[in-house]
């Protein structure tokens, strides 16, 4: 094949190449989605696909799950650095899930394989995916009461899953033996492997078309280009130090608030996210690894000022994150950290998007979403098949209102782009029966643009025993509004025992430390679980909301007539239409009351 030339590529050429790289990542993602066994892959899309250069630097990723960006930037680089490039052979596939080697949390496994051309490594392709069950103290491997990483599942350092194309049986056997649902692990790992093969094949084609020298040079240029684009955008922000803080209700082990405190330093074309004033790491598993805090910082920034710039290792040259080891934003071994990715990351990201950048770019910022993934885990033996099952479900909530529109309703928190588990999947794969799945009226944070609505889901146990765990937050500290918008609503996780008439929280039932974090509660036939996810905060003064939109909200069942009057100063006539005259009077009176 031709070695090609290494002449610089212009912006248009780089743009074309960038989209070719992303296309390859997208195709890898589709392959993974269509071939996986577990709904968390096929429905939840909780994975990323990556192209990396010969040093392991991130070149491109599919826009599937930005929550994995931090891990994507470092985990492969560090595999290459730790094991040495000389130990990669054609057909090798390395795997690891170690949060203490650049992983986000234990369930997310990274696979990486080298791309060889003419006997030399020219690139790597990789993926990161959340395996729904990896052992540990709770089915679903998301133990809200874990106090160290060893309780969170099987931890793998970088090891070969395939050596020169042949499976390394010892590693497979260790993994399959320690996971509760080995058939799913088998299928999902092969989906990841297939995705790598797709990426490898496409990238080899591209190298043959463009030449090694040209494409390798483009890898470097596209990182420089991303760095330059981000510097240009940061330079538009005013220099200064900006502060934000937010807290978790508790860590699941101790009933005490846990604070994240952030100083953002903007100096010309550089930006530093300094988390040094945050609380020490917690005993429970809401700690973030460094790469999770990096993801949160980068995504919060890129969502607001990133536009359509390429996302690759170049952006990490501009953005510096300071999170002292041993803090809630950078857990130190052996701290538990499975919830850092799902609770800590969205919390921090929205501090960046709302509290920090809201001051600087109010037209692009947003109020807080429900801001918890409301992780609901369960496992047991399915009476229909006799097989052990386990699943990791994350729940939809309401997003925050923003300058241009209301917050989205019933969506997974915005850091991850994932999707929750469909009702049909719940009922066909596991012994659950849905009694209710609906939007929650009168819960959205009021505002000129209101928050999105959270959901209410009621599930009835359809087998003798199901073991459930929950890791969530926002039961006490509700999602904040922005620029006069009101708070969203709180999380509730409740249980109604078979034969009982009322729901009570799990905390009330079992005397738990936390209302939203518990592990391994055994439920029986006819018990009902009620998950109420939080709604988003509002953006702007509710009295500035277009009355016609309030009327629509009432008609849709999102807002009651009483709340329309009390929160928005909007009155409807007997025909259900807007009463303009009385609304104007009421709003005038409410404004003068506030004044």
């Amino acid at each position: 094949m031709t070695s090609g030339t290494a002449a610089p590529v212009d912006r248009v050429g780089l743009g074309i190449l960038h989209h070719q790289f992303v296309n390859i990542c997208d195709e890898m993602a589709v392959s993974m989605m269509r071939t996986a066994y577990s709904p968390i892959f096929s429905e939840g899309l909780d994975f990323s696909t990556l192209i990396l250069d010969a040093q392991g630097n991130l070149i491109a990723t599919a826009g599937i799950n930005p929550a994995m960006l931090g891990a994507s930037l470092y985990a492969a680089t560090w595999i290459v650095r730790e094991v040495g490039e000389e130990n990669f052979d054609p057909g090798d596939v390395w795997i690891h899930n170690d949060p203490y080697r650049g992983g986000s949390h234990m369930p997310e496994h990274m696979m990486v394989t080298p791309v060889f051309i003419d006997g030399g490594i020219v690139a790597y392709v990789g993926n990161i995916a959340h395996l729904a069950e990896i052992g540990g103290m709770a089915p679903g491997s998301f133990a809200a009461t874990a106090t160290d990483v060893f309780q969170e599942g099987l931890r793998l350092p970088p090891v070969r899953l395939f050596r020169r194309g042949e499976p390394v049986h010892d590693v497979w056997r260790i993994m399959l033996t320690n996971h509760r649902t080995p058939a799913n692990t088998w299928g999902d790992l092969h989906a990841m492997l297939g995705s790598l093969r797709v990426g490898q094949r496409r990238l080899e084609q591209l190298f043959h078309e463009r030449g090694v020298a040209a494409l390798s040079a483009a890898f470097a240029q596209i990182q420089d280009f991303a760095e330059m684009c981000l510097r240009e955008e940061i330079r538009k922000l005013p220099n200064g130090v900006y502060h934000a803080e937010d807290c978790f209700d508790d860590d699941g082990i101790v009933d005490r608030e846990c604070w994240v405190r952030l100083d953002v330093i903007i100096e010309d074309d550089e930006i530093i996210f300094d988390y040094s004033k945050s609380d020490p790491q917690t005993l429970g598993p809401i700690n973030a690894t460094y790469v999770v805090t990096l993801s949160a910082s980068l995504n919060g920034l890129l969502y607001i000022i990133g536009g359509d710039m390429p996302v690759n290792a170049g952006v990490a040259r501009v953005v510096r994150v300071v999170a002292p080891a041993g803090s809630i934003c950078c857990v130190r071994l052996p701290g538990a950290c499975v919830g850092g990715q799902t609770e800590n990351q969205p919390r921090v990201m929205e501090m960046v998007m709302g509290t920090i950048l809201g001051q600087l770019l109010p037209d692009r910022s947003a109020a807080a979403s429900g801001n918890t993934s409301l992780n609901f885990l369960f496992g047991g033996v399915d009476p229909r098949t006799g097989d052990y099952f386990a699943h990791y479900h994350f729940e939809a909530n309401g997003w925050g209102g923003r300058a241009s529109s209301d917050g989205n309703s019933a969506q997974i928190v915005p850091h991850a782009n994932c999707r929750n588990t469909p009702v049909e999947i719940f009922e066909t794969r596991w012994p659950w029966i849905h009694e209710k799945y609906s939007l929650n009226c009168d819960t959205a944070g009021p505002g000129r643009h209101r928050g999105g609505l959270g959901i209410e889901r009621i599930l009835e146990v359809g087998s003798d025993v199901i073991t459930v765990s929950v890791l969530a937050d926002r039961a006490k500290h509700r999602p904040w509004g922005l620029f006069g918008g009101g708070e969203g609503s709180a999380t509730r996780v409740e249980l109604r025992r078979a034969g009982a008439t009322e729901y009570r929280t799990f905390q009330e039932h079992f005397g738990l430390v936390s209302p939203t974090k518990f592990s391994n509660v055994r439920l029986g036939h006819g018990d009902r679980v009620r998950l109420v996810s939080p709604s988003g905060g509002g953006y702007g003064d509710p009295l500035e909301r277009d009355p016609a939109l309030v009327v629509i909200d009432v008609c849709e069942g999102f807002v009651s007539k009483q709340s329309a009057e009390r929160l928005y100063g909007v009155l409807l006539g007997p025909d259900g239409q807007l009463d303009e005259g009385r609304t104007e009077d009421l709003r005038r009176r409410l404004r003068s009351d506030v004044a």
């Binding site: 560090w78 650049g102 100083d263 530093i272 130190r332």
Partner: protein, 68 residues
């Protein structure tokens, strides 16, 4: 200032952290001496400058909660 190998054996499972930013140290680290003579282990060469910037801002910072 120089890059140094961590020199860990294959069975060593300890974890090392950058003393400037908290990021992990994998296989090697950038060693430098700060203004007070303390030896610092960092993940990047650029952390010399990062540390200086942080110290400058922290010295200038008004009491807790300083905003924009």
């Amino acid at each position: 200032m120089t890059w140094r190998e961590l020199g860990k054996s294959w069975h060593d499972t300890t974890v090392d952290y950058c003393e400037v930013c908290g990021n992990l140290l994998i296989r090697r680290y950038w060693e430098f001496t700060d203004e007070s003579g303390v030896i610092v282990r960092a993940c990047r060469e650029d952390d010399v400058r990062l540390l200086a910037t942080l110290r400058r801002y922290r010295a200038e910072a008004s009491p807790a909660g300083s905003g924009a």
